[in-house]
Amino acid sequence: MRNRFLATPYLIWMILFVLVPLAVVVYFAFTDVNSGALTLHNIARMGNYLSIFIKSIWLALVSAVICLVVGYPVAYFIAKAPAGLQRFLLMLIILPMCISFLLRTMAWVSLLEDTGVINNFLGMLGIGPLPLIRNNAAIVLGMVYNYLPYMILPLYTVLEKMDPRLIEAAQDLGCDDMQVFTKVTLPMSAPGIVSGITMVFVPAVSTFYISKKLGGTDAALIGDVIESQFKAAYNPNFGAALSLVLMILIFICIGLTNRVSGDEKGAMLV
């Protein structure tokens, strides 16, 4: 009884700032920008931008996988480190998050561009300016750099809580190191993997600043298109339609990841 009352402020918050805006988005998506009449034109126009949707999802997926590959050993190492070192390493992971992500992306621009720090250095060694910026690899680099902490932290939480006796038990029963990892550690950390992938994938798929700064002129992602509809073109209706479709696609992707890990403790995630 008491708990339910405690939740009321949040419930009201949810209704006011999540459900109502969502309804507004749906309303805008199905109305015309000039007349306000009901229309499917916004949804129909979406077909032209299908390749951009796929490209955004693809780049976000690649980033999420790279984050997992890079982040898992880091999280494992931190989780197994002595307590004092652990706190210090965690602080190092969190520290960059205290700086605005716009600033961090701008820093990458000045590192990577043709007259940037890296190319200037290479120039001194006699190596011509390399095309480091304005391509898809630079976008993925920006995404991985910005979202890596969101992968490491949930993985760390899961790995840190894991009972070491389970590993000892597996070893007693004759597992070698590889088997301990694939049969015990990896399945046990599945919830962390799922939430890590979700937390990297969702912001990455809708990002607009990173692609604008680090990508080429042919690298507009769906976030850029949505931003332009609200900021420059004044067509919030089409922007809303794009956001709605993107949201549904994200839900499908999350649903898929949750399904895959369904065996392992049904990890559900915000």
């Binding site: 009352f5 000039n34 032209n48 931008y49 507009a220 420059a232 073109a233």
Partner: protein, 392 residues
């Protein structure tokens, strides 16, 4: 008893949240402490750098009115901000065609010229314009032209002279382009020999095709970032406003400028008061202040844009008033054309085509599609096999 405390507490909290903003709004306004919201282009007022005048501070010192100064980077983003509301502005400084659109949509407030005595200094050439034929809504701030800025160290002089330089594959990846549809389409239309103000859908589509052909050569679509990018020589070629060339030239004297032979855009940016303004009189005082010939002279000497007041020129550095970049000769000016407001349909089509230009080439290779399909299939396979295993 205890059980009732919590809901009561949350109710009070919520009530307080609801009442708070009302109370703040109801507070009586102090006449001594008026703040006006000024919304202007970025890099478009002298702000005290390099020893020049800080216009906003000088205004506050002269009148006691505080200025909350914010900037936008394109006419279109200013329009969107105004249209979506959320913020009220007292003074805005859009360009000619955008003023016509705002008048057309009844978003501007007629000015009270009794509060703007300095209006008399504005030259006749800038009155009775196409965008505000009866001089009701706007007071000219500056005027200027669009041309090409290029780096003389890297760009062959023989390649200059026309807009074609922006399509020259020799300089692929070193070309910048306007990040607003009107200026970008204007350049393509001039290259094709069309009017800047065409409403013809086919001509607009031709222009969009030309811009799509340019896209692979373009380093990025930018507005005010052009300053830094050109000064550091990260890019070599950019179309931009003539006045800003002088600011960039101060930082890098290898930069050059020319007016393309096919013609170019002449614009007037003028000060207006939106209908939603809370302090129209203070806003008029601000407009009047900027029309003071001495202030205008100091302000525009820093900006490098042309003044619409002959009266102001006597206070300016002669080097500035004789610069042919800022004040082109009659012969050059004859090639200029100003923007007029387009039909609603044409504006919308231009917005859609502009999005197509910017998203062109976003298509992905077949290899990537195959990879995506394989991954999805693999995920499905894992899912299915697990289910089967579980059933056993």
């Amino acid at each position: 008893m205890k059980k009732r405390v919590l809901p009561l507490f949350s109710a009070v909290l919520l009530l307080a949240l609801l009442v708070l903003p009302l109370g703040a709004a109801a507070a009586p306004e102090n006449d001594e402490n008026i703040t006006i919201n000024v919304y202007n282009w970025g890099q478009y007022i002298s702000d005290g750098t390099d020893g020049y005048i800080d216009v906003n501070r000088a205004f506050t010192e002269a009148t006691g009115i505080q200025v909350n100064y914010t900037t936008y980077d394109t006419n279109e983003s200013m329009y969107t901000k105004l249209k979506t509301g959320g913020a009220t502005y007292d003074v805005i400084i859009p360009s000619d065609y955008m003023i016509a659109r705002l008048i057309d949509e009844d978003m501007l407030r007629p000015l009270n010229f009794d509060n703007i005595p300095n209006y008399k200094y504005i030259d006749n050439a800038f009155l009775n314009t196409d965008y505000d034929p009866d001089n009701i809504y706007s007071v000219p701030y500056t005027w200027g032209t669009v041309g090409i800025i290029y780096n003389t160290a890297y760009v062959d002089e023989a390649d200059t002279g026309s807009w074609d330089l922006l399509w020259n594959s020799k300089y692929s990846g070193k070309i910048l382009m306007f990040d607003n549809c009107r200026d970008a389409f204007g350049i393509a239309e001039l290259s094709l020999g069309y009017s800047l103000n065409t409403n013809d859908p086919d001509e607009l589509r031709d222009a969009a095709e030309l811009l799509k052909a340019q896209q692979p050569l373009v380093q990025s679509y930018v507005m005010d970032q052009i300053f830094e990018t050109m000064e550091r020589e990260e890019a070599w070629i950019a179309p931009y406003y003539a006045g800003d060339f002088l600011l960039m030239y101060k930082e890098n004297d290898k930069l050059g400028f020319y007016f393309p032979e096919e013609g170019f855009n002449i614009f007037i940016d003028a000060m207006c008061i939106p209908k939603t303004s809370q302090h129209p009189e203070a806003a008029e005082a601000y407009i009047n202040f900027l029309c003071d010939p001495k202030i205008s002279a100091e302000n525009l000497e820093y900006l490098g844009y042309a003044t619409p007041m002959t009266e102001a020129k006597q206070y300016m550095d002669p080097e500035m008033t004789t610069s042919e970049v800022v004040y082109p000769t009659e012969e050059t000016l004859a090639r200029g054309e100003s923007f007029l407001v387009l039909d609603r349909e044409a504006t919308q089509l231009m917005d859609e085509l502009w999005l197509d230009v910017k998203t062109d080439g976003g298509s992905i290779s077949t290899g990537t599609i195959i990879a995506i399909v394989v991954i999805i299939l693999a995920i499905a396979m894992v899912f299915v096999t697990r289910k089967v295993r579980r059933k056993r």
